[in-house]
């Protein structure tokens, strides 16, 4: 508060001095004797001060912009009417361009890039040391024809040629760094994301124009060694005033945007207080902040990974076009808002949002965590089933490739032995024949055993052929319509398991089965004429493991499970 009062006092005093100096010697001033030009000039300085002091940006930016406004007013003081301020003005008359450049480069950025630092160093040195103090120590106003000018208290030795040379060199350097600054601004705008550009453009563009105009004036005055007030200077000066007013306006606009955001936040608090449908928080935030791409991720207590609203694990994006703001409340992270850059620029805003939406956030977060836990439970059940299936398949393969092949080989060996047997051993031949017969029966039994573990046809050909094969073996299974397409292996196994087990537990009567694929779900229906007995928990588990549901009555079993597209 005190800081603002002091700043305003200094600014208003500087404005008063400027008005006095110009009115006293209009011919020697930049504004000339036009009251309008003077008003505009002073207004531009005061607007910069006002914009600087009220901006919602880092304090460095605020002080620099206010200082720039005052320095702009000082630009008029190296004139006969300035009195005691004359000497100070000789040093500071060209200080406003580096201050402006410095301020706008800090706008929205916490630190300066290396090229920016180098550029500002050159700019400050040129303005204050070369054009300012350096020239002042050799400048004797009276000797150089300004008979009305106050005494230059900085004069060491009068040397008009040195003043001319320093002025000329300083102005050429000023023109050069102005051009470099404009290039720097455009490079920064070109690199920025579109959202960032929207925020920076209103401030950077008029500032670049003002500095470019300063560079033009420097180039224009470089031949004579000082900036003056010829008609070209007047024209450039008017444009410069307009550009500075636009800089102030741009800063004010950023403030308006921030204020609008706060208004949204306030409305959001009201909305959340009234009602919040489950899962609706991201939508409410998105509409409150006008960012439809806004997403919410929640922190888990037991797991460092983030989850989305459905409880699915989700990573924070590493994308220059997406910005992440973490919301903390009660000393821990609750959620992360993923939004377009520049939406929640100030840390204070994120804190306010976390406070405002805390209850709703906690509620949604717990919901998301519960869904994540359910999902991991289901996944682990699925893995248990998949492991069991894999073991059954490997057993089936072992039976097939091992025992079944061996027995078939053995049957051939016996047959070969029988062929070599002379016809004189009818009893031995009969016994070998019986052994061969026994082997054939054993092969048949093994085949059924292997099929009962998990039929190879299920993995090779799918659910339809596997159920058909089941019907080939169990004549009382009546097969209705079956889907022809393939599904994921766990879904096919679960459906087959339900059919095979229901058939096993059904009474002696017929069992009919049909299945169809509808809207991404596999619908399975079984009806047993004599009822299906026994508990069905294992069937429920099996179907639940692939995210489906099973319902059963005395005569019916119905299952439905998600099966992809």
């Amino acid at each position: 508060m005190v800081y603002r009062v002091v700043a305003w006092t200094v600014a208003l005093a500087a404005a008063a001095v400027t008005v006095a100096v110009v009115r006293d010697e209009p011919a020697n001033s930049l504004a000339g004797d036009s009251l309008l030009a003077l008003t505009a000039e002073v207004a531009a300085g005061l607007l910069l001060v006002a914009a600087g002091l009220t901006a919602r940006s880092p304090s460095g930016f605020r002080a620099l912009l206010a200082a720039c406004g005052v320095a702009w007013l000082i630009g008029e003081w190296n004139s006969p009417g300035a009195g005691a301020a004359f000497s100070a003005a000789l040093v500071l008359y060209a200080a406003w361009p580096p201050l402006l450049a410095h301020a706008v480069l800090r706008h929205g950025e916490r630190s300066l890039s290396r090229p920016a630092i180098a550029l500002l160093a050159v700019a400050y040195a040129d303005s204050v040391l070369v054009l300012g103090a350096g020239s002042a120590i050799f400048y004797d106003p009276v000797a150089q024809g300004c008979l009305d000018c106050p005494t230059n208290r900085l004069l060491v030795t009068a040397h008009p040629q040195a003043v001319h040379d320093l002025g000329r060199a300083g102005l050429l350097v000023a023109a050069a760094w102005s051009a470099a600054f404009v290039a720097l601004v455009f490079a920064r705008l070109a690199r920025a994301t579109s959202a960032r550009r929207r925020v920076e453009l209103p401030v950077l563009l008029p500032a670049a124009a003002a500095i470019a105009l300063f560079g033009a004036r420097a180039l224009h005055g470089s031949e004579r060694g000082f900036v003056s007030n010829d008609p070209t200077d007047h024209a450039l000066l008017s444009a410069q005033v307009a550009a500075l007013v636009l800089v102030a306006a741009g800063v004010a606009w950023a403030r308006v945007r921030a204020r609008r955001m706060r208004g949204r936040l306030a409305r959001l608090v009201v909305d959340l207080g009234q009602s919040s449908p489950p899962g609706g928080l991201p939508d409410q935030l998105a509409s409150a902040f006008g960012d439809p791409s806004l997403e919410l991720l929640y922190a888990r207590d037991d797991d460092p990974r983030w989850v989305d609203g459905d409880g699915r694990p989700a990573g924070l994006p590493h994308d220059p076009d997406r910005q992440v703001t973490r919301l903390r409340a009660g000393g821990r992270e609750l959620a992360a808002v993923v939004h377009r850059p520049g939406l929640l620029e100030e840390p204070a805003m994120a804190a306010e949002l976390a406070d405002a939406a805390r209850l709703a956030l906690e509620h949604e977060r717990l919901g998301a965590i519960r869904r994540a836990q359910l999902e991991s439970l289901r996944a682990s059940r699925g893995r248990v089933v998949a492991t069991a299936d894999a073991e059954r398949r490997s057993l089936e393969r072992d039976l097939h490739d091992g025992a079944q092949q061996r027995l078939a080989t053995l049957a051939i060996a016996i047959r070969l032995a029988r062929r070599q047997l002379a016809s004189g051993y009818p009893r031995l031949d009969a016994e070998l024949g019986a052994a061969e017969e026994g082997l054939r029966d054993a092969l048949g039994e093994l085949r059924e055993l292997a099929h009962g573990l998990i039929p190879a046809v299920l993995a090779h050909e799918g659910l339809g052929p596997a159920v058909e094969a089941l019907a080939d073996r169990s004549p009382r299974l009546v097969v209705g319509e079956l889907p022809g397409e393939r599904f994921a292996a766990p879904v096919e196994s679960a459906a087959y398991f339900v059919v095979a087990e229901s058939l096993r537990r059904a009474g002696d009567g017929d069992v009919s089965v049909s299945a169809r694929h509808q809207d991404g779900r596999l619908l399975l229906a079984l009806a047993a004429a004599d009822g299906i007995g026994g508990p069905i928990t294992d069937l429920e588990d099996r179907v639940g493991a692939v995210g489906g549901t099973l319902t059963a009555s005395a005569h019916d079993v119905r299952a439905e499970m998600p099966c992809g597209s």
Partner: protein, 215 residues
């Protein structure tokens, strides 16, 4: 008759070769995987290839795929697929592609050299062969009431033999009936089931199998 044998179990392969040689077949090649089989058939041109359904490289249905490939490449070379799988589905897959000169037998039958030799000869003659166990299971299947219920016991027997791939003459011999009687039965069956009585015997087998599986 010249045959090649493909089975990844070496002992079984060799035993089978000896059985077939004893029964008067000429075994011109033996191999243990699908790729070797295709090369061997291309090089030695047997009349029939005896193929195990499950073979390297994938140990799933490589033998069946190789058999289909042989039928596509060589119209005159027959294939007999041996399998531990009772599922009609596999037999259908083999026959659907090119039904003549193809057969599907359960592996436990191979030691019964008479059955094996008969199947090979029929395939050599251009017929097709389906394992009787598979057919009998298909015929025995429970159905939501349909025209199959209207067939007489004898007609069902004839239907099963058609599905096994037997010709009219062979069916007549098997049932001790005259060809004329067999023909009468067959036209009755086809009328009751509403199937078209084509002249092509292989298509007839396929139609009956499809009918048995579909209803």
């Amino acid at each position: 008759m010249r045959v090649v044998i493909a089975d990844d179990e070496a002992l079984l392969r060799d035993g089978l070769a000896r059985l077939l040689e004893d029964a008067g077949f000429e075994v011109v090649g033996r191999c243990g995987d699908a790729d070797a089989l295709l090369r061997m058939v291309d090089a030695r041109r047997p009349e029939v290839a005896v193929v195990d359904i499950r073979m390297p490289p994938n140990n799933t249905d490589d033998g069946l795929l190789a058999a289909q490939e042989i039928r596509r490449r060589h119209a005159q070379i027959g294939v007999l697929v041996l399998s531990h799988h009772l599922e009609a589905h596999y037999a259908m897959r083999l026959l659907e592609d090119v039904p003549e000169r193809a057969g599907y037998l359960l592996k436990e039958r191979v030691s019964d050299i008479a059955v094996l030799a008969d199947a090979l000869r029929r395939i050599g003659d251009g017929e097709c062969v389906v394992d009787p166990t598979i057919v009998s299971r298909l015929v025995a299947r429970k159905r939501a009431r349909g025209p199959l219920e209207e067939l007489t016991e004898r007609e069902r027997e004839v239907l099963a033999l058609i599905a096994e791939g037997l010709s009219n003459t062979a069916i007549g011999e098997r049932m001790y009936l005259s060809p004329k009687t067999i023909e009468a039965h067959i036209s009755q069956i086809f009328m009751k089931l509403d199937l078209r009585p084509g002249t092509d015997q292989h298509r007839r087998v396929l139609a009956v199998l499809a009918y048995l599986r579909a209803s």
